[in-house]
Subunit: 263 residues, 3 copies
C-alpha cells in the first residue's frame, strides 16, 4: 500500500527543500532529535516558550508537540504553537510520551488533541491509552504490542480524523481506512534513548514536504527503518548504532529508502 | 569486602527486571544518563515537575535527585519525588553537583537531606562540602581526592545513616561501618561530561534491584568501571570512549562485571 | 594577521589552566558544548538560574549567554550573570541564535547588549540581523554568507566596541580595525547540531586565558577548525564526525592548531 516511489519522492523532497521543523520536545531527546533531522536533510528549531512558539509556528513547515518532560510553561508553549499551526493549516504531530503514567499527561494530551494533530506518533501502550480515553480502545497495557493494538489504532484514527503512526518491532501507520505496516530496523534500536521522539520529528519533517499525512508518516518510518538497519550491520551496541544511524541517514539513497516499502 | 558474586547477581537482576528509575537530573546529563541506563538494562524516566513527580515516584523502583542545573520548579519537583520515595520506602539517590559553589545549592541539599537518601553519590569535593556542612568534615577543597576524604565520608555516612558513594580515580563506598574501594575505569573518563551523574543513575537502578544499598552502590560502580575499562581498550579519546562505553555496557557479562570486585 | 604562535599559546594555556566557563546555553547544545569544552581542556559549568548565576559568574573565567531556547527565567539568569561579568571585567560571549526569527529574541539581545559582551559569535544571518538593528547593517537575509556580511560585521564591531566572530564555510573575526579569516573544517560540520553554540563556548574558554579578545576568538576558531578537519579525514557522516571531533580535540597538538593560522 506504501509505494516505493512515494518513499523515494519524500526522501528526495526532504533533502531538496530542507523544511523548517519546530520541535517542542523533551530534554532527553533534544540532541538526538535535532541531529537526526539534520542528518535527514531537514532543519530543526527547538522553540518552545509561549513568548515565541506561536509566532515561530507561522514560519515552520511542521510542528511537533512531545510531552516527555512536561511542565506548565511547556504546556502553554505547545498550546500556542499547535493553535497557530491549526489556524494556518500547518501539520503538527503529537508525541504522547508515557501518557498513561500520570494525570498531568492525560490532561495535557486531552487539551492538545482539541487542536487536531495531523499525526499521533507513539508506541502501542501510548496509542492504546489514548484510544481508550477517547472511547476507541479496550484498556491500558504498559507492555502492549503493535499487532495487538491495531484495531484500537484504526478506531482512534477514524474517530479523530487523524493519522496514527504506531512504532515497535513492526510499525503500523493508519488513517482508519488505509493501513500500512513497515518492517526493518534493528532489535537494539530501543536502547537508543529518544529514538521514538526522533521518529516523531522525522514524521513532522516529511509531513512538511508531502501533503498526504499517511504517506508522509509511513515514508518517514521507512526512511528511518532503512537507516537503522544499515547502521545495524556494523554496530556493536547502542552507542555505535546511534552514530552509525546518523551517518547512514545522511548518506542514504532514495533507492535504499524505497526498498523498505517494497518488502 | 565486595563479593564478586554480589556484583554478578546485581548485574543479572538489572537485565532480568529492567527497573524503572525516575531520574530528576540536570540538562547536561539527560542524554548520557538515559542512554547509559538503557544500555545497562534499566528503564529510565525523566519526570521532574511537581505536577507529576510525586505521583510518578510511586511506580518507580528508585529515584535520583541531581542538582546540576537547579531552579525553583525543579527543587519543588525533587522534593515532591523524594518525599514520596521516603514515604514508600523507595530508595532515592542524591547527586549534589557542585554543592559548594553557591548558596542555592547548599540550601537545596539541606532540604533534600531531610528526606533520608539511601545513597549520596558525589566526587570528593562534593562529599567533603556536605560532610563539613553537616559537622562531619574538615573544610572545603575544590580539588579534594577520594583517599584524603575517606574519613570525612565515613563520618558523614554514620551521622546521616546513609551510604556515601564517592567517585574518582579510585571509588570509595561506605556506610560508615563497611567500606569498599573500587579500582578500574580509564584516565580519560572525566572528559565524558556527566559520567558522574550517569553513575548516580546506575547506582539508583542497582538499589532498585538489590536491598543492601552499600552492595548495590558498589556493584553499580564496579559494573561501570568494568565497562569503561573495556571501552578504553580501543578508544582514541573522549568521543569514542563514550559510545564504546555504551556498547560495552550493553554486552558486558556478569563475569566481566564481577572481575572488578575480585581485584 | 593571526600569528600561529598566538594560537599555539592559547591552545597550551587552555590545557594548562583549565578555565572555568559558565555556559548559559540552550537545551540542544548542553551535551555537545560541555563535552567539547572538556575535550579542549576547559572546565564547563552550566549554571543558569538567577538564584545563582550572578554568584557563580564571580568565580567563572568567562561566561556565555546563548539564546537558543529562550524563556523568561533564562533571560533573568543570563542578565544576572552578564551584569556580574561586566562589573568584574570578566569576558562574556553573546550567541544570538536565530535572533531575527522572533520579537522575543530581538528584545532579549537588545537587553543583553547593554552589558558589553567581549565577543558576539554568530552566523552571517544573525550578525547581519544585529548589525541592521544597531544601525550598522543593510537588512535581513536568512541565507547570508560570511563574505557578503563582512562590512556589516566590521561596522557592528566598531559601533559596539566588541569583537564579532562570524562563522561559516570561512570564519571572519573582527574588532572593526583588525580582521582575521580562518579556513578549514569540513563541509559536513553544519550537520552537527549546535556546533556553532559549542564554538561560542570555546571562544569563551579562550577569552578566559588570553586577554586580547580578537586573538582569543580567532584562536578558538582555529583550534576548532583544525580538530574538525582532522576528524573529517576518517568520518563517514555527521555521527562519526561528532565523536571524532571530540577525540581530535583532546589529542590535538599546539602545532596542529597553529597550522590553521599559517594558511
Amino acid at each position: 500500500m506504501l509505494e516505493p516511489s512515494t518513499v523515494a519522492h519524500v526522501h528526495t523532497r526532504l533533502r531538496e527543500t530542507s523544511p523548517l521543523v519546530q520541535v517542542i520536545t523533551n530534554y532527553v531527546s533534544m540532541d538526538i532529535a535535532a541531529n537526526l533531522l539534520n542528518a535527514a536533510g531537514a532543519s530543526p528549531a527547538m522553540v518552545h516558550d509561549a513568548h515565541e512558539s506561536g509566532e515561530f509556528a507561522r514560519i515552520a513547515g511542521a510542528v511537533v508537540a512531545n510531552i516527555g518532560t512536561l511542565s506548565d510553561p511547556w504546556v502553554d508553549g505547545m498550546l500556542a504553537a499547535v493553535a497557530q499551526a491549526e489556524a494556518d493549516g500547518t501539520p503538527w504531530i503529537l508525541d504522547p510520551v508515557a501518557v498513561g503514567a500520570t494525570t498531568f499527561r492525560r490532561d495535557t494530551v486531552d487539551r492538545l488533541l482539541e487542536h487536531n494533530p495531523a499525526v499521533i506518533r507513539g508506541n502501542a501502550s501510548e496509542i492504546l491509552a489514548i484510544a481508550t480515553s477517547a472511547g476507541a480502545g479496550r484498556g491500558v497495557d504498559a507492555d502492549a504490542a503493535v499487532e495487538d493494538v491495531r484495531s484500537d489504532a484504526e478506531a482512534l484514527a477514524s474517530k479523530l480524523g487523524t493519522v496514527v503512526a504506531m512504532t515497535g518491532a513492526t510499525d503500523l501507520v493508519t488513517d482508519g481506512t488505509r493501513s500500512v505496516t513497515i518492517t526493518g530496523g534493528d532489535p537494539r534500536a530501543p536502547m537508543i534513548t529518544a529514538l521514538g521522539c526522533s521518529a516523531s520529528a522525522l514524521v513532522a519533517a516529511c509531513c512538511a514536504v508531502h501533503d498526504d499525512a499517511l504517506e508522509a508518516s509511513a515514508s518517514a518510518l521507512a526512511i528511518l527503518s532503512a537507516a537503522v538497519e544499515k547502521a545495524g550491520e556494523k554496530a556493536e551496541g547502542p552507542g555505535s548504532l546511534r552514530w552509525r544511524l546518523l551517518d547512514a541517514l545522511s548518506t542514504l539513497s532514495a533507492d535504499e529508502a524505497a526498498a523498505v516499502a517494497a518488502r
